[in-house]
Every structure is written in structure tokens, then in C-alpha cells.
């Protein structure tokens, strides 16, 4: 059992697809969905992180 077991592996793909196909769940998992209608992320923070060490 566990993540290497047949049950987990059989369920992984269908559950993942079920989640990503259920638009009402997206907000709960912070999945923002399509970006094309918003012009992508070019002006919405695609390169804005500031917490990496600079060295």
C-alpha cells in the first residue's frame, strides 16, 4: 500500500483529472485555471519572487 502501491497508482490519474476537470474545486486548491483570457502572466507576476538567496 502507500504511494507505491497499486491502489494509489490506479487512483492517481483519475482523481487528478477529476479535480482539474471540476471547475468548482479550483478555488479550493488555488488553481487559477485558464490564463489566456487574462493575457497570461506576462504582466501578472511570472518573474516576481523575491525570497531566493541572491548568492
Amino acid at each position: 500500500m502507500g504511494e507505491n502501491g497499486p491502489f494509489f497508482n490506479a487512483m492517481k490519474t483519475p482523481v487528478m483529472w477529476a479535480i482539474y476537470n471540476a471547475t468548482e474545486l479550483w478555488a479550493l486548491i488555488d488553481y487559477p485555471g485558464p490564463s489566456f483570457p487574462f493575457g497570461g502572466y506576462i504582466n501578472r507576476g511570472f518573474d516576481d519572487i523575491d525570497w531566493l538567496p541572491t548568492a
Binding site: 483529472w17 488555488d30 485558464p34 511570472f46 519572487i49 531566493l52
Partner: protein, 304 residues
């Protein structure tokens, strides 16, 4: 739009419309040769492309059970260039000599390539120019995304010195009639704005515009035919209505990606070629090689 008769044996038939087939079709058409490209899948428009990976997999993935994951082929005009990530690192000099570099490995038939980096370099330059690879020629590097920054920091921490992830066939700025990347983040579902190079909206329309090219979508080639001397005469394919047709040809280019190319050559066996076409070595269908990909999913700090 140009069309050709099935009996026209002056055409070059190209099987597949992806990176290899789409490109060779356009190159031949630009030189004035007449080309018929047979593509097993549908032809999508930009309107068909959605930021929805599962839905796009249903539209363009090669869903036949005998293929399936982990072989992520596409069955659509543009082939796997619709789905690819645009990664375009060059093979390095030592990688042309795996036997010399790594030595013999048990249960393999590992050999050195009969080519060197120096011989192939001029073609790399041409291919990078056609695809518009960032960081080559006068094309700027692709911008450093958050994902790139995190992976680079991690790679440096574990000791990597050279990190070339920014060389991608995605326009950092507008080029060749296509816009610069808007960071949509759905490259694998097909690039809706055409910033990523795909034969679907580069080589194929260019070939159509020159007037020496016909593409037939939903045309699955089943067999390559030949005459008594062993010279290719054409191909048999199944059209969208299920009917079988034979397209005559002066030459046939096979560019169906690794699984379907191999299968087609094996299925084209005859009394003259009892082990399939192009298989005098007996190695057809063996020595399978792919590049492997690892995905990591994580939540960026500071996002919630």
C-alpha cells in the same frame, strides 16, 4: 488550395506533419517539389486550443491503447510540436560517442554515432533559426520565470555549473510573424498565441502558401508499397471515411515519431522485405530511446 491526384507519381509523400514531417514538407515545397503530407490526426485551429490540458489531450493526444503513457505522442496536424515544451539544448560532443564515453553496457547495443558535433553544427544553426530558439543568433534569452529561478537555485546548490533551460523554441519577443510569449503557462496544451514553435502554424501554412503542398488530415498510413526492384511506389492509407486509398509517389519520407514509424515499417513487410522495410540490420523496433522528463509540483512560498 493545391490538391494532387492519387495516381500522380511525381509527388513526394511525407508521412506525419510534426517536427520532422512538417519541416521536410516545407523545405521540399519551397524548392518547388510537389508534396502530399498524410497526417493521421485532425487539423486544429487556434480556436480549438484551450488552456485545459485534459481536454486538449482528448483532442490531440494519440489515445490508441497500444501507445498511451508514457509515450506522449500527438495525433494531430503539427504532431508532437503542438504539445512539446520547446526545449532545444544541443547534444554535446561527448554524447555523440556514448560507447567511447561510457563503455559497453551489458544487454545493450550501444555504439558511437557515425556523426560528430562539428558535422551537425551547421544544421543546428539552421534549425535554431527556423524554430526561433531563444538565446541563439540575435534572439534574446527567454526571460527568467519564477519556476526557472527556483530550479536554477536548486540546481546550483546541488552542484550544476551549466544550466541551459532558457534555450527554448518559444519567442521571447515577436519574430517570424508570431508574437512574443505572454507566459500563459499552458505550453503542453498547445500555444494559443503561437509564441511556441509548432509546425501547425509555421512550416505547414508556409508550405501551403508556396503552392506545392497538400496536407490530408485524418489519413492514417498503413503500408508503404514498392515494386519488384524494391523501389518505393507509394503508400496505402485509411482516410477519415474509413476507405483505403493508394497514393502514388516518387519518394516517401517517414516521419511518424518513434512508435508509429517503426510499426509502419514493420507492417510494410513483403516477400522482398520479410522483416519489414529498412530492417536489413534486424534492429528495427529495438534499442528504444526517448528523452525522459521529470515533473515537480509545488506551491510557491508567498502565494497565499
Amino acid at each position: 488550395m493545391k490538391t494532387y491526384e492519387l495516381t500522380d507519381d511525381s509527388v513526394v509523400v511525407v508521412i506525419g506533419s510534426g517536427a520532422g514531417g512538417g519541416t521536410v514538407s516545407n523545405e521540399l515545397a519551397q524548392k518547388g517539389l510537389d508534396v502530399v503530407c498524410l497526417e493521421a490526426g485532425n487539423r486544429m485551429t487556434l480556436a480549438d486550443i484551450k488552456n485545459d490540458p485534459p481536454a486538449m489531450n482528448q483532442k490531440m493526444g494519440w489515445l490508441d491503447k497500444r501507445i498511451g503513457p508514457p509515450v506522449w505522442l500527438c495525433k494531430t496536424v503539427g504532431g508532437t510540436t503542438v504539445r512539446w515544451s520547446g526545449m532545444t539544448p544541443r547534444i554535446q560532443g561527448h554524447e555523440f560517442k556514448p560507447l567511447t564515453t561510457y563503455g559497453h553496457l551489458p544487454d545493450t547495443s550501444i555504439i558511437d554515432w557515425p556523426l560528430t558535433l562539428e558535422e551537425i553544427e551547421p544544421y543546428y544553426v539552421r534549425a535554431e533559426d527556423k524554430m526561433g530558439v531563444a538565446g541563439t543568433g540575435d534572439i534574446p534569452l527567454y526571460p527568467e520565470t519564477n519556476n526557472y529561478k527556483v530550479l536554477r537555485a536548486g540546481a546550483k546548490r546541488v552542484g550544476y555549473k551549466e544550466i541551459t533551460t532558457k534555450h527554448v523554441a518559444i519567442n521571447p519577443v515577436a519574430r517570424d510573424g508570431r508574437p512574443g510569449c505572454q507566459q500563459l503557462g499552458f505550453c503542453h496544451a498547445g500555444c494559443k498565441i503561437r509564441a511556441k514553435w509548432s509546425t501547425l502554424y509555421t512550416e505547414i501554412p508556409k508550405a501551403e502558401a508556396i503552392g506545392h503542398f497538400e496536407i490530408r488530415p485524418n489519413s492514417m498510413v498503413l503500408q508503404i508499397t514498392h515494386d519488384k526492384s524494391g523501389k518505393v511506389t507509394g503508400v496505402v492509407y485509411r482516410a477519415s471515411d474509413g476507405a483505403l486509398h493508394e497514393q502514388k509517389a516518387r519518394a516517401v519520407c517517414v516521419a511518424g515519431n518513434v512508435v508509429e514509424t517503426t510499426r509502419l515499417l514493420l507492417n510494410s513487410e513483403s516477400s522482398l522485405f520479410p522483416h519489414g522495410l529498412a530492417n536489413s540490420s534486424g534492429h528495427l523496433g529495438r534499442n528504444y530511446m526517448r528523452h525522459m522528463v521529470a515533473f515537480v509540483y509545488a506551491i510557491m512560498p508567498g502565494r497565499r
